[in-house]
């Protein structure tokens, strides 16, 4: 009896702890959302609040009134994410599969070639100069697809161990005896058997493209090529940024006076994260299992 009460108190404490943790994880998002639907006046008077005293969608009206900047930035993000994820997944799988075959010549050499990039690097500056001077990637959409994001050595090794542990050697052997080419074996047997790892790595890729602002900051000067994350970066430090491109300087002053600055900033943050937040319930399962599969033998 005493033991039972004790364990019930224990379990209540654990749940309290987790509720606190949940609130801490979510409150910043809620705050930003609440500010975005507050009226600018109530913000100026009372500051940001989790419980807005006056609700207004003026900030969203303002953003959607001239949505072309945001739509363009979203366009860049969507294109780079789609193209990047598909190519990245293909290169990663093509790279990982041969390495999972114990009979591949130079297997150890190639594995070391990959692994070494995780141990040592030339640093950001030579990397940047390589892409800008040798490959002329500055101000091209490729700069948001290729540098660093296209292939992760870690993902290659992760996929290699998946292939090695789940593709039965006998299947590959019998297909070879039947005269199937290596490419056919790969696309017709290996890929269909590996959908879980494909989904996981594809998800990792999608997130890193979607969230990228670093490549955009380094390689892109032209505002029409900014992706959504970098547009958000620019706007956080300078809210006028949203107005500057489509308007003359005289208009900017005028519009700036009318702009609900604080709430617009937060509304942009909501517009920027909304797709990810809406998609999250659907992919969180795969994301969690992806992290844990990497953890078991990282």
């Amino acid at each position: 009896m005493a033991l039972n009460t004790k364990s019930r108190i224990g379990s209540a404490l654990i749940h309290m702890f987790f509720w606190a943790f949940t609130i801490v994880s979510l409150v910043p998002f809620i705050l930003v959302f609440m500010v975005s639907i507050s009226s600018e006046d109530s913000i100026l008077q009372k500051g940001y609040s989790l419980f807005p005293s006056q609700i207004s969608f003026a900030a969203y009206h303002f953003l959607f009134n001239d949505f072309s900047e945001i739509a363009k930035a979203y366009g860049v993000t969507i294109i780079t994410t789609l193209v990047g994820t598909v190519i990245s997944l293909l290169i990663t799988a093509l790279f990982a599969y041969p390495l999972s075959r114990p009979d591949l010549p130079f297997r150890r050499t190639i594995s070391f070639y990959i692994f070494f990039t995780m141990l040592f690097g030339g640093g950001m500056v030579p990397w940047y100069i390589t892409y800008v001077n040798m490959f002329d990637l500055k101000n091209t959409i490729l700069a948001m697809i290729i540098p660093n994001l296209l292939l992760s050595a870690f993902n290659v090794l992760l996929m290699r161990s998946f292939f090695a542990s789940t593709i039965p050697e006998s299947v590959v052997e019998s297909a070879t005896i039947d005269g199937a080419s290596e490419l056919k074996i790969f696309f017709k047997i290996v890929v269909p058997l590996s959908l879980p790892i494909m989904a996981t790595i594809g998800l990792f890729n999608t997130l890193s493209y979607w969230n990228d602002w670093y490549n955009c900051m380094l390689f892109i000067d032209k505002p029409e090529l900014y992706n959504i994350q970098y547009l958000m970066t620019k706007t956080l430090t300078n809210i006028q940024y949203l107005l500057m491109k489509s308007n003359s300087s005289a208009q900017v002053g005028d519009l700036l006076a009318k702009m609900p600055r604080e709430t617009v900033r937060m509304a942009l943050a909501i517009v920027g994260i909304a797709p990810l937040l809406f998609a999250y319930p659907f992919f969180q399962k795969y994301y969690i299992s992806g992290i844990t599969s990497g953890a078991v033998k990282g």
Binding site: F21, F95, L119, F120, M134, A153
Partner: protein, 305 residues
């Protein structure tokens, strides 16, 4: 030799499949490794990497004679040290507690909420932090002035608060993620250990400290080893986006990575910024070899290579 030729022919397609990846790593990783010679050159855009004049060790001398080298090394090291210790303790604690929740649905719900901060970009994090710390209307200043009658604090103008802010933000973003990794290895533990311990009358606390923690030690070791070997690498977004690249905050938010970026973009000092990056890479490389060798001596199976 004919053997090699024969096997090359047999494995032609498999080897060709690896080609895109090999070429990519060559461009993205190996050419920049060679590019560290820039650290020993006086780079100018007209002459390019190969044509620029040699500068010997001048770039390194310039770097290490300035105050910057010490400050950025100290900042990077101390931040990472605190991150590693704090995140490890909190993540293992959270993992142990998630394991106590028997209801699968609730456990799943908690896990996905804790992971949410990890999937968003640092830009979004910067917005979230700004909503708390904004001087005029941010939540914290409003609470300070309204409830405690204190003066509003100019958060983005006072470097002294930022070590605490960045530690909190980093924990907020990463503890959930790390705890899921540890939780996964806890689930992998054979239930029989606990059954036997319960029969022997071991308390929950004893089971945690005597069974769970020792059995997840390999994962803890690997994760910590990786973190320690990167102790001079910093999360660029955390130190650049979250303080909103504010000049006044540089003394406490500058790390090697932000220093290299600013030296390259803002001052255009290619030679010196390459030298700083090279210094970082070499120290990290040595650290990972040493850390790995140390773990190998203790328990060979936990080593990375």
């Amino acid at each position: 030799m004919p053997n090699l030729k024969k096997s090359l022919k047999k494995y032609k397609w498999l080897l060709l499949m690896t080609l895109p990846g090999i070429v990519y790593l060559f461009i993205n990783n190996y050419i920049p490794m060679y590019g560290v010679i820039l650290a020993f050159k006086n780079y100018n855009y007209v002459d390019g990497i190969w044509g620029s004049a040699w500068a010997g060790l001048d770039n390194f001398k310039f770097l290490f004679n300035s105050q910057d080298a010490y400050i950025i090394t100290r900042n990077t090291f101390l931040y990472n040290f605190v991150f590693i210790v704090l995140n490890l303790v909190m993540a293992v604690l959270v993992a142990l507690l998630i394991n106590e929740i028997k209801d699968k649905v609730i456990s799943r719900f908690y896990q996905s909420t804790f992971l949410l901060p990890h999937i968003i970009s640092m830009v979004v994090v910067a917005y979230l932090v700004y909503s708390f710390l904004n001087v005029d209307s941010g939540l914290i200043n409003r609470l300070l002035t309204k409830w405690f009658g204190a003066e509003a604090i100019s958060w983005y103008g006072e470097p002294k608060y930022w070590p605490y802010i960045l530690v909190i933000v980093n924990a907020w973003k990463n503890v959930g993620y790390l705890s899921i990794i540890y939780f996964a290895s806890i689930i992998g533990i054979d239930k029989e250990y606990y059954e036997a311990a319960t029969i022997d009358g071991a308390s929950k606390w004893k089971q945690m400290t005597r069974i769970t923690i020792p059995l997840i030690l390999p994962v803890i070791t690997t994760m910590t080893l990786l973190a320690v070997s990167g102790i001079l690498r910093s999360d660029f977004g955390l130190f650049y986006q979250v303080p909103m690249n504010t000049g006044a905050l540089i003394p406490t938010t500058n790390t090697i990575d932000t220093f290299v970026y600013r030296a390259m973009i803002q001052s255009g000092d290619i030679g010196m910024s390459t030298a700083a990056g090279f210094y970082q890479s070499v120290v990290c490389f040595v650290l990972i070899l040493v850390a790995n060798a140390a773990v190998r001596r203790i328990n060979k199976r936990d080593a990375l290579f």
